[in-house]
Symmetry: C2
Subunit: 259 residues, 2 copies
């Protein structure tokens, strides 16, 4: 691995998160990218991206960068940085303290390092391939609950046709049971809180490469099995994810495999 990249990714993600926090509760929506209510951009998104992209370009001028607001630079390089300058922008813009700055380093299509800063709650998540996942420096582990009917899940927020299909199956499976479901409205929170065992599983069906790549390593290193809806191992580029401890994951696949 790249020497010094561990501390570099932590440093820039913390810096960008701190910069967004200074604008939190002040920035409203700057512009919208489509008619969809969640497709918004604030000035803080642009500021965070500017910090991250300029730091990476200076430190690693030959690396590729894929970033939400400014697109891709050399995404075919051996090393590629994937950036979500603010994940959960709708939360951010409305003053809801659940959003994250997410950065990961991908080497030959494998996520090697990931840092997610949730500044409004003071939570900093970090993972290194093969070395575990951490919250504020302390090792975290996914939930060990195994009875799907007694779990608290999280994931998709919007009613896309596929997520609606999944929710329908979930309602049928969970009806009258002790199941719970709740989305925080940000992938950063949904995934990191699942990695920390605060929720038992995540099923996410909507998002882009910068939503999925950074959270994948945090979840995996916390002990989650991560796959697509069919149960195939999650790979860089997949835009869906089922994450849970391996026993629970197998049971969830019954609900997701035909979604």
């Amino acid at each position: 691995m790249l020497a010094g990249a561990d501390s570099f990714i932590k440093e820039i993600t913390r810096e960008a998160g701190d910069a967004t926090l200074k604008r939190f509760g002040k920035d409203g929506v700057h512009y919208t990218k489509s008619e969809r209510i969640w497709d918004v951009v604030t000035k803080a998104d642009l500021l965070s991206e500017k910090i991250l992209v300029s730091r990476i370009k200076k430190q690693y001028p030959r690396h590729g960068i894929i970033s939400e607001e400014s697109g891709s630079h050399n995404p075919g390089e051996e090393y590629v940085w994937v950036i979500d300058p603010i994940d959960g922008t709708l939360n951010f813009a409305s003053g809801t303290p659940l959003y994250g700055v997410m950065v990961c380093l991908v080497h030959d299509s494998e996520v090697m390092l990931s840092a997610i800063h949730i500044p409004a709650t003071g939570e900093f998540f970090f993972a290194k391939a093969g070395k575990g996942a951490y919250l504020n420096g302390k090792r975290i582990y996914c939930s060990s609950r195994k009875d799907v009917g007694k779990t608290f899940g999280t994931g998709s927020t919007s009613f896309s046709p596929r997520s609606t299909h999944f929710f329908g199956k979930l309602l049928k499976a969970g009806k009258g049971d002790q199941m719970m479901y709740g989305s925080f409205g940000s992938m950063a929170n949904n995934a990191c809180y699942t990695a920390a065992g605060r929720r038992d599983w995540m099923v996410a069906l909507n998002g882009s490469i910068w939503d999925f790549a950074p959270v994948s390593l945090i979840l995996k290193e916390a002990g989650c099995k991560i796959t697509n809806m069919k149960g195939e191992p999650w790979k860089f580029g997949m835009l869906e994810m089922v994450a849970a401890n391996p026993v629970l994951h197998r049971k969830l696949l019954v609900l997701t495999k035909d979604v």
Copy 2:
């Protein structure tokens, strides 16, 4: 109204919230009240309740008290304090920073004052009948979105038969649309964040008197219309709630009236 009660309710709710925050991330589940995964009690629930009940008994010895963990004392009195020492205990016990200490003062079955402290995010909500709702001293208002298909709602988390019925109708109404739904896993956060316009509506079908009474005034004073599922004005004692701006509320009733 009772002279001095405004500052008293703020003071004790802040004190209890601060006490829970000291234990946040340390207290796990102390005991469970039933087999349901969310029916848990931590030592912090008991501590918060002890602070609130002892302060109220000392200040207003003749008032009634209804509290989650220790039950009722003179609930037929003219003035009754309703307490949820920790709302969102499952979040609290798992280290999720979304829980609240909720207290309200009821006079002849009307909620007159309400204070909700969400200590892990530093948010203090307060409302006084006829005088508005406030977050950290600043007036808050509910969302003004009117197109139900382009809203972000919140509310029930668990799959009770009635909430499953509602979710089924919601999925049908929202399918392929720009609707979003997400529960924070605590009534305090669901309701206060709706009152602050961070979510557009709340439909809550599960809970006890100490869940609904404190949030009712915050929502109402933020401009929400609050009713039961049928659309009848919400009254102290009702254990269900539809909350939204009046135009959106009328549209939501189509989905809730037969639930």
